[in-house]
Amino acid sequence: MQGFLAFLRRFARSKLALFGLVIVAIVVFAAVFGRWLVPFDPFAQNILGRLKPPFSEARNGGIHLLGTEALGRDVFSRLVIGAQVSLLVGVASVALSSVVGITMGILAGYEDKYLGRILMGITDVQLAIPFLVLALAVVAVLGPSLFNLIMVLGLTNWVQYARVVRAECLVLREREYVQAARALGASTPRILFRHLLPNVMSSVIVISSLLVAKMILFESSLSFLGLGVPPSTPTWGAMIAEGRNYIANAWWVAAIPGFAIFITVIGINLVGDRLRDMLDPRLKQVEN
């Protein structure tokens, strides 16, 4: 606890990073508790009150803070609920890709030089595929669902972990303490998980934080194209797609969810950049 507080205090020395952390905290709060706090039912349609501008009065006397959309539903309430999908997809797909990537990276770095070569080959193949198009095609075949979305994003973005973790393990396995553990008869799994894994965690944390931001952008692109989660669930990308048709006379319907994505991604990137400065000393030398 003491160590965590000290870490947090060091983290907060950068005002920008603190700003990012506050944004992330607000989005997480909205995603977790939002459904009990929204001023309107995010699914309640009201055709008479459609496309109302921000701050207009609702039938029941409340205020539509951010206006209403094409079916008269409250934009603010939908925005709050939409945070759930963005965060869930972002975090779950990163969790999946980190587990796959770390496993591959550790095995390729410690054990097997053939596995290492194959891994590098897979990486180059993945880098040569226009990812968005492939993800679209796969989701189009499998059908849009939350599970398929997370699987596709998670299984196509693990190579970065694998590359970094492998490179670090190649160095770590020559260290004295690993040699000593081996000489003492520690089993390979024990060396991998007790001695190597903890030492690659700081890189993993940095990659993960920046990858969550990327995944949120990917999710919004797929939802925008109608290939994210099923349309009954409000997501930021799908809200922009719906609002696009009314852009001429109701700009807020498309503009506001996009701004929410923008601010969320900036917040996560600020936190990720700060973590990188703190945890990765090689990059720190360059940046400062």
């Binding site: 226009p130 194209l225 852009i247 923008f262």
Partner: protein, 305 residues
């Protein structure tokens, strides 16, 4: 040098081969595609006849080998919707996409290179701050949203630019800006940090010690060396950049290969999707090959390789 080029070339071909395997099997991950083309009331006999006609009843590995055998001869199959060769459909739209990508790349280099140099040579100055803001904001926009906001401002309100289509220079401005945002951010950020690193190195101090002018040190010594890591990462990002072109073209109804790909996905026209992905893979791999080989031009020590 020649051996190096040859080995890189062979590796590049292997990578494209790997892409063909990945695409072929991933598109068929949902099983037999024939259900997607036939009306739901089709009888079992119709389905069977269609599958035989299309060759879907053969083992998938055989289907892949057949596809590969034709592909190396330049036959990527017929588009299931347009009844034209799939690769021809892709190639017809390549010039439009190249024009858009070139405009976007020119725009982002025009902004990012001067900005990164100024930021690296004037640490903590206003240029440095602007550089940081540009690199943070540019990679946090959803591309499609930026595109829609540009249409809102310049087409709906100011009525200055056409919201969609292709033809004049005016059609190119908004798509190029939308597409350039991400790469501008990435290039500014990378070039700035590698310039800073290079400017602290010994040979730059030596060059300064010899009394070379600031301009000569920056352009002749620092920029050349800082360009190498930047180029590498740009090469690795080409796939992501071209992915941005897909969604940009879709929003501006710009008739390039990206829009074709999205329509092909919507129509379940998988031969076109396959042809598109393979074309892109060859393009991306070739760009990376050129990047690798260009190191020799930037750094004479690497020429022997």
């Amino acid at each position: 040098m020649l051996g190096y080029v040859a080995s890189r070339l062979i590796y590049a071909i292997l990578v494209v081969f790997g892409v063909s395997v990945a695409v072929f099997f991933l598109i068929r991950i949902g099983g037999d595609p024939s259900a997607l083309f036939l009306p739901p009331e089709a009888s079992l006999e119709d389905i069977a006849a269609f599958r035989t006609q299309m060759g879907f009843d053969r083992p998938i590995v055989v289907q892949y080998l057949d596809f590969l055998g034709r592909a190396v001869q330049g036959d990527f199959g017929q588009s299931l919707r347009y009844q034209q060769p799939a690769m021809q459909l892709v190639l017809e739209r390549v010039p439009a996409t190249l024009q858009l990508s070139a405009a976007a790349l020119a725009l982002s280099l025009l902004i990012s290179i001067p900005l990164a140099i100024l930021a690296a040579t004037h640490r903590g100055s206003i240029f440095d701050r602007v550089g940081l803001v540009v690199s943070l904001i540019g990679q946090s926009f959803p591309t499609f949203w930026l595109a829609i906001m540009l249409i809102l401002i310049f087409s709906e309100h100011l009525r200055m630019l056409p919201p969609s289509g292709r033809g004049t220079w005016a059609h190119l401005i908004m798509p190029a800006i939308a597409l350039a945002a991400y790469s501008t951010a990435i290039i500014t950020r990378l070039l700035r940090s590698s310039m800073i690193e290079v400017l602290q190195s010994d040979y730059v101090r030596t060059a300064r010690g010899k009394g070379l002018s600031q301009g000569r040190v920056v352009f002749r010594h620092a920029l050349r060396n800082a360009a190498i890591p930047t180029l590498t990462v740009i090469g690795l990002q080409v796939g992501a950049l071209l992915g941005g072109a897909v969604i940009t073209e879709e929003i501006f109804a710009y008739p390039g290969i990206g829009r074709l790909a999205i329509q092909a996905i919507a129509n379940r026209d998988f031969t076109v999707v396959q042809a598109f992905v393979l074309f892109m893979a060859v393009l991306i791999v070739s760009i990376n090959l050129l990047v690798d080989l260009s190191y020799g031009l930037l750094d004479p020590r690497l020429r022997k390789g």
